[in-house]
Symmetry: C2
Subunit: 405 residues, 2 copies
C-alpha cells in the first residue's frame, strides 16, 4: 500500500465528462490498495472567464480580491470531483487550501507556502477517504485572507502536500505525457525522457517549459518527493523527476529549451564607473521586471554599452524606464529588439564534461546562426539568437547532441 498524491490540471478536469474519467482513475488507484489525495486545478477556461469579469470592472483589480475571486475555480472543481467519487461509491471529501492548513505569506496573486498542517488530511485518509484538494490556494499567515500561488500553483500545492504527508509518489497529470528532449512540435523525433533530475527540471521550467511550475520542483528537490509527469488522456508511463543518479551524469545534455518571449534592451554610452549599473537594474527591479541575461561591453574611453533581456510583455515598461534614466544619467541612446529568442541546452552531465558550450556554439555557427548573448550555469548554456532561427537552432542542437537516440 502506497500513499499517492495526484494532481489534475485544468484540461484534465475541463468538463463533466473529463471529471467522470478522472474520478474513475482515482477510484482505480484507490481500489489497488493505495491511499489517494488528489489536487485539482480549475476547469479549463474558468480562470480566464473570472479574469475577464474582473477586467470588465477595473483595469488594475485589487490583488487581495483577485485571489478571493480566482480561488473559486478550484473550489468548484474539487467539490465536483468529490461529488462524483461519492456517486461511484468511493468515499471522498473536498477540502480548500484553508482546510488543508496551507499557510502562505501575504503576497497576493503569487504567495509562497510557509507551512502546511496536514493533520486533517491525514485523519480523513486514515478513515479511508479519498481527499480532493482545491489547488493553487492557501490563506495568509497574518490576516487569514485567501491567497493564490500564481499560474501553475496547483503543481506546487500537490508537491507541497506530498512532502507534508511524506507521500510515496506525486503524480502530475496533464495534457502531455511527460518531459521531452525538445518541444515535439518543433523536433519531430524528440524523445520522452524516462527520468530527469530536479535541477535539470528547474532549469527547463525557468527556460520556458510550461509543464511544471518551478516552485513545485524546488519543493520536490528540497523534500525529495518523486514527481511523475504523465497524461490523464493516455495514462502512458510518463517522466519521473527525481534525485540525480549516475546514469543521468553520463548524459551530456538532457533537453533543449527555447523561449520566444524575450526582448533585448540596450543603453549605450554609459559612464563606466561604480554605481551606474546598480542604478539601472534597481530601477528595473523596482518595477517588478525580471532581468535575465546581461551583457556589458568592454569599456572604451570610460564609456560602455549595457544590454539585457526581459520578458516581451515588460519590454515597453522597461523601455520607458531606460529612457527616463538615459536623460538623468546623460547616456547615449536606448534601443530595443523584440525579434530575439533564447535557446538553451540543459544537462547535469555537463558539470563533469567541459567543452559542451563550445560544442553548442559550433553547432549553431555551422548553420550560420549568430549568437548575440550567452549565459551559463553549472548545468545549462543559453544563447540569444535572432527569433527567426529558433526552430532551426533547436533542431540543430537536438541532432548535435544525439538526443533522438
Amino acid at each position: 500500500m502506497a500513499l499517492i498524491v495526484q494532481k489534475y490540471g485544468g484540461t484534465s478536469v475541463g468538463s463533466t465528462e473529463r471529471i467522470k474519467i478522472v474520478a474513475d482513475h482515482i477510484k482505480k488507484t484507490k481500489s489497488k490498495g493505495n491511499q489517494v489525495v488528489a489536487i485539482v486545478s480549475a476547469m479549463a477556461g474558468d480562470t480566464d472567464k473570472l479574469i475577464n469579469l474582473a477586467r470588465g470592472l477595473s483595469k488594475s483589480p485589487s490583488e487581495r480580491e483577485m485571489d478571493l475571486l480566482l480561488s473559486s475555480g478550484e473550489r468548484i472543481s474539487s467539490a465536483l470531483m468529490a461529488i462524483r467519487l461519492n456517486d461511484i461509491g468511493t468515499k471522498a471529501v473536498a477540502m480548500t487550501g484553508r482546510q488543508c492548513g496551507i499557510i502562505t505569506d501575504s503576497v497576493h496573486t503569487k504567495a509562497r507556502i510557509r507551512s502546511i498542517d496536514a493533520d486533517k488530511i491525514r485523519e480523513y485518509i486514515d478513515n479511508d477517504y479519498v481527499v480532493i484538494i482545491a489547488g493553487f490556494q492557501g490563506i495568509s499567515e497574518i490576516n487569514s485572507d485567501v491567497t493564490t500561488l500564481g499560474r501553475g500553483g496547483s503543481d506546487t500545492t500537490a508537491v507541497a502536500i506530498a512532502a507534508a504527508l511524506r507521500a510515496d509518489l506525486c503524480e502530475i497529470y496533464t495534457d502531455v505525457d511527460g518531459i521531452y528532449t525538445a518541444d515535439p512540435r518543433i523536433v519531430s523525433n524528440a524523445r520522452k525522457l524516462d527520468k530527469i533530475s530536479y535541477s535539470e527540471m528547474m532549469e527547463l521550467a525557468s527556460l520556458g517549459a510550461k509543464v511544471l511550475q518551478i516552485r513545485s520542483v524546488e519543493f520536490g528537490m528540497k523534500y525529495n518527493v518523486p514527481i511523475m509527469v504523465l497524461s490523464s488522456f493516455t495514462y502512458n508511463p510518463g517522466t519521473l523527476v527525481t534525485k540525480e543518479d549516475e546514469d543521468m551524469e553520463k548524459i551530456l545534455v538532457s533537453g533543449i529549451a527555447s523561449d520566444k518571449n524575450q526582448a533585448r534592451l540596450k543603453i549605450s554610452n554609459v559612464d563606466d564607473k561604480p554605481g551606474i549599473a546598480s542604478k539601472i537594474f534597481s530601477a528595473v527591479a523596482d518595477n517588478n521586471i525580471n532581468v535575465d541575461m546581461i551583457v556589458q561591453n568592454v569599456s572604451e574611453n570610460g564609456k560602455t554599452d549595457i544590454s539585457f533581456t526581459v520578458p516581451k510583455d515588460d519590454a515597453d515598461k522597461a523601455l520607458n524606464i531606460l529612457n527616463d534614466l538615459s536623460r538623468k544619467l546623460h547616456t547615449g541612446s536606448v534601443s530595443y529588439n523584440k525579434d530575439i529568442a533564447k535557446v538553451s541546452i540543459v544537462g547535469v552531465g555537463m558539470r563533469s564534461h567541459p567543452g559542451v558550450a563550445a560544442q553548442m556554439f559550433k553547432a549553431l555557427s555551422s548553420e550560420n546562426i549568430n549568437i548575440r548573448a550567452i549565459s551559463t550555469s553549472e548545468i545549462k548554456v543559453s544563447c540569444i539568437i535572432d527569433e527567426k532561427y529558433t526552430e532551426l537552432a533547436v533542431r540543430t542542437l537536438h541532432k548535435a547532441f544525439g538526443l533522438e537516440k
Copy 2:
C-alpha cells in the same frame, strides 16, 4: 452618520453592468457619510449553473460538497463588487462567511447561524472601508466546513450581520420594489405596503411570498432590526418590515398570498385509535417532508380518513410512503390530488377583530369556490381550494377586504 447594511440579490448583481450600477449606489450611500456593509448574492444564473454541473455527476450529490460548490458563487460576486468599488475610488474589501465569523450548525445545505463574531468587519468599517460580504454561507462549528443557509440565505446573512453590528437599517435590494397586498401579476390594483410587521411578513414568507427568506425575518424580529425591502432597479421607497404599531392593528388584512405548490394526500379507512396518526406523520417526517394542513374526518364505525398537504415536489415520495403504510396498517386506499392551491389572508388586525375568517369564507362562496381544508393562526387564515380558482380567489379576497385602497 448611520451604519447601513445593504443586501443585493442575484438579479441586482447579474452582470458586470449591474455590478457597476450597484457599486455606484454603494459609493453614493457611503459618500453621504454613512458606514456601509453590503451582502451580495451570486450573480443570477450562477447557482443554477453549478447545480446543473453537480447533477451531471450525481443524482444525489453529497451535501457537504454541494455547500463548498454553491458558496463559490457569492465569493465571486463579492470579490467583483469590491474590485469595482476600489476602481471607482471607494476603499473596499471582500469577505467570506468564514472571515466574517459566521458560525453555523452542521446541517449542510440549510444550516442555521449559531453566532457571528463581527470584530473584523467592525475593524474594517472603522478604518473607512466598505465591507462586501459573500452571502448565503458560513462555516460549521465543529469541522469548520463550509455551510450554506438555504435558498434566499443571503437575506439571513444580511439581517444577522445587521443585528451583530447593531446597524441602523438593513436594506434588502431585489427586483421588486416592496411588499404588495397581493401578487401584482394576479391583482392589477395591488398596493405596495409602506410598512408591515415582522409577524405578518413571516406568515407571508411561509405562505409562498418569495421576497424574503423567512429566517431573515425571524432574525429581524428577534433583534429588532428595521428591514427595508426595495428595488435596485428603481430605488423607489420600498416596504419597511418593523415592529407592530397601532396603525397596523387597525387594518384587518394586510395581504393575500397564494401558493400553487401544494398537493393533497388522503389515506382512507384508518383505524381511529391512538398511535395511528403518529405512525403516519412520523414516517413522512422521517423523509424530511414538510406536512402542512392536516384534516381528520369524524370517525365512523371506528374508522376515519386522514388527509394532508405537502409541497408538490414531495408528493410522489409521500405517496410511496403512504402506500407502504397502507399495506402494513391494513387501511383503505390512498389517493392524491395535485390540482389544489392554498390562498391565505394575513393581518395582525385579525387578532382583535373576530369574524375575519367568516368574511373570507363568505367571499369565496359568493364565487362558488369550494373550500377543501382550512387552517388558521392568530394572524392568518388559509384555505385549500381547486387550483383553477386561485387567481379568482385572490382577486375576490383582495376586493372583499378593501386592499386596493
